[in-house]
């Protein structure tokens, strides 16, 4: 994408901790509008925790998260909710509400935030489901469909309110390679057509290189970020053995 870059999410000097237990400190990075931003790093480095900080589930121990120039965590709860309404989040397990059907899962946000008639809401839900390839599954309960379908249904729900920012927590975890590839394609497609900013937490190398155009690398040992930028460039240019090791599946050397 060659258009001029406009910062969408800015993280400044962020420190994350559970009580006394430090997860990550001194995180500073910028996510531009239209980016597909990857949060990567080994297991247990705090990737998902970073996501919880970005979407408003956990308050940072220190530092700021800015949406454009709006300080997310210093805002009144009401204002924060307004920003959160522009998010679409796909959770690791899908997190579909198990007591509601797939159709109702997608309708619930629409019922809460729009004045559409029940008929229109049903149509929108059906549309979102068809976008993720689940046409006709409106009446199924989450327990009746497979893991991959749950992820896709979760994505349909995340898209219900036409979000400006889509967050994905390990989208391809637990998917077979073909479904994972299809999901990557879907993510690219959504970015193009909705113009959304996408933030993905993942450690799937294939997805990282296939979709990412910006990234941050979190290191569990030094408990801070040790690299950022386009993952392909990182692979080509990074001198840090940890980063290179990660991006080459532990082989430590770059393929020519």
């Amino acid at each position: 994408m060659m258009e001029k870059k406009e910062p969408h999410i800015i993280v400044e000097d962020l420190t994350m901790a559970y009580g006394d237990f430090l997860i990550q400190r001194d995180l500073t990075f910028t996510i531009n509008r239209g980016d597909i931003f990857i949060v990567m790093g080994g297991s247990g480095c705090g990737k998902s925790t970073l996501l919880r900080h970005l979407v408003g589930l956990q308050r940072p121990a220190k530092g700021k998260v800015l949406y454009r120039d709006f300080n997310f965590w210093d805002a009144e709860p009401g204002e924060r909710e307004t920003i959160m309404r522009s998010f679409g989040i796909l959770y690791q397990s899908g997190a579909l509400w198990s007591s509601l059907t797939i159709g109702e899962n997608i309708s619930l946000p629409l019922q809460q935030y729009t004045n559409l008639s029940p008929g229109q809401i049903r149509e929108i839900a059906a549309l979102k489901l068809s976008l993720v390839g689940l046409t006709g599954f409106d009446e199924y309960y989450p327990s009746e469909i497979s893991g991959g379908m749950k992820k896709r249904a979760g994505l349909a729900r995340a898209m219900a309110l036409d979000p400006e920012i889509l967050f994905f927590d390990e989208p391809s975890a637990g998917l077979d390679p073909i479904s994972a590839h299809l999901l990557d394609q879907l993510i690219l497609e959504l970015r193009e057509s909705l113009g959304a900013t996408v933030v993905i937490v993942t450690h799937e190398l294939a997805s990282i290189f296939a979709v990412g155009n910006n990234s941050v690398f979190l290191d569990p040992e030094t408990k801070t970020m040790i690299a950022q930028g386009d993952p392909k460039k990182l692979l080509a240019e990074s001198k840090d053995p940890k980063v290179v090791n990660f991006l080459t599946r532990g082989e430590g050397t770059k393929k020519e």
């Binding site: 959770y91 690791q92 579909l96 946000p109």
Partner: protein, 384 residues
């Protein structure tokens, strides 16, 4: 080459002194964990016996099979050899598979601090820790009650967000579907009360007072308590498990990030349903209990139906009914609070859901009994 080692046929371990500084260890037979394996110390005993021994080598020609038992034996020898001895272990004679596994086991050195030391905590420390934990959980409870109160305020101002269909479903689950078990328990409690009363009252020829005993006992206290306990085990546990599982599944996070407060969407309909249904169930339990007493009265005490009915109506006052219904409503709130609180504050694992459910039931039952005691004391002070 004189054979100096002791030969043990079963264990398959024997020794040869190849030269002054080299000890050959012969491994033979089946080196598997189920068999009785020789201790590594024997090798070291041999090595220490010859003061000039510097090398230990292995011969595995007679080895028929091996598993982790052999590896443990070899690792132990290596450990012993490195403890202030100048003996080197040469692995050349070992099978390739054994060598590879030994290499793999020593490939990653032990990370400093990875081994958990048994931490010594003084009892004073522990006492302080549990006091702080207790205080924290008290604060959490207060916070939860506060949030629930705010959700109720929003309900009365008509702004609460929950699906009416959810509410009716919960009403059905904790109302109509509880009727069979409530019937059974209340009838039996009525029967038991009548039986116990009858034995004593018969002595004075005052059987008719069984009706008063059962009537007042059930209406004033027992119906509410029994219903409360049934609902704690049935519905309170279900609330905790449902909400806890939703927490594990990130479903509650999904609600929060959509700006739908879980307090209103999940907790409010549950509390409201139980608050409304408990007095009704308790009223039903009153009738069932009296019915149970009536059965005993008519069948065993030669009272007739009208006699029993009139005595009950005469002795049970409207105050008793009101106290019973009020207690039931209080218990409903307590059970719902305990169940929802444990569910909402559940950790993110399967065992945490189990703990939440258990503690929901325990908390509910304890708070029901404490609340009943308080209500009884207050009522007797106020003379009602």
């Amino acid at each position: 080459m004189p054979a100096t080692g002791s030969m043990d046929a079963r264990s398959g371990l024997s020794f040869d002194l190849l030269s002054e500084d080299t000890l050959l260890v012969r491994l033979a037979g089946d080196w598997k964990l189920g068999n009785r394996l020789p201790a590594a110390d024997e090798v070291m005993k041999q090595a220490d016996a010859g003061p000039k021994i510097r090398r230990i080598i292995f011969d595995t020609e007679g080895l028929r099979g091996w598993d982790s038992g052999l590896l443990i034996f070899l690792i132990r020898i290596q450990e012993l050899a490195s403890q202030g001895r100048t003996v080197t272990i040469e692995q050349d004679g070992l099978l390739p598979g054994v060598k590879r596994l030994l290499h793999l086991a020593s490939a990653v050195p032990e990370r400093k601090g990875a081994r958990r030391e048994e931490a010594r905590i003084s009892s004073l420390d522990r006492l302080g820790g549990s006091a702080i934990a207790g205080w924290k959980s008290f604060l959490q409870t207060l916070e939860f009650i506060g949030e629930a109160a705010i959700a109720f305020m929003r309900l009365f101002s008509g702004k609460a967000r929950f699906r009416p269909s959810d509410f009716f479903l919960i009403i059905q689950e904790c109302g109509a579907q509880a009727l069979p078990i409530v019937s059974l328990i209340s009838i039996l409690v009525g029967l038991i009360l009548a039986f116990i009363g009858a034995i004593q009252l018969k002595i004075f020829g005052a059987q008719i007072y069984v009706a008063s005993l059962v009537g007042i006992g059930m209406v004033r206290a027992l119906a509410a308590i029994m219903t409360g306990i049934i609902m704690a085990g049935r519905t309170g546990a279900a609330f905790a498990a449902q909400l806890g599982t939703m927490q594990v599944n990130e479903e509650i996070d999904a609600l929060k990030t959509l700006g739908i407060p879980p307090m209103e969407f999940l907790v409010l309909p549950r509390m409201l349903a139980l608050f409304l249904m408990m007095p009704l169930l308790s009223l039903y339990a009153d009738l069932m209990g009296i019915l149970g007493g009536l059965v005993i009265g008519v069948s065993m005490l030669d009272l007739n139906f009208m006699e029993y009915f009139n005595k009950t109506r005469e002795s049970v006052s409207i105050n008793d009914f009101m106290i019973g219904l009020f207690s039931a409503a209080v218990f409903g709130v307590l059970v719902a609070l305990a169940g929802c609180k444990q569910g909402m504050q559940c950790g993110r694992s399967a065992s945490a859901v189990g703990e939440a459910t258990t503690s929901a039931v325990v908390t509910s039952i304890v708070s029901i009994v404490v609340a009943m005691a308080l209500i009884t004391v207050v009522c007797s002070v106020l003379n009602i």
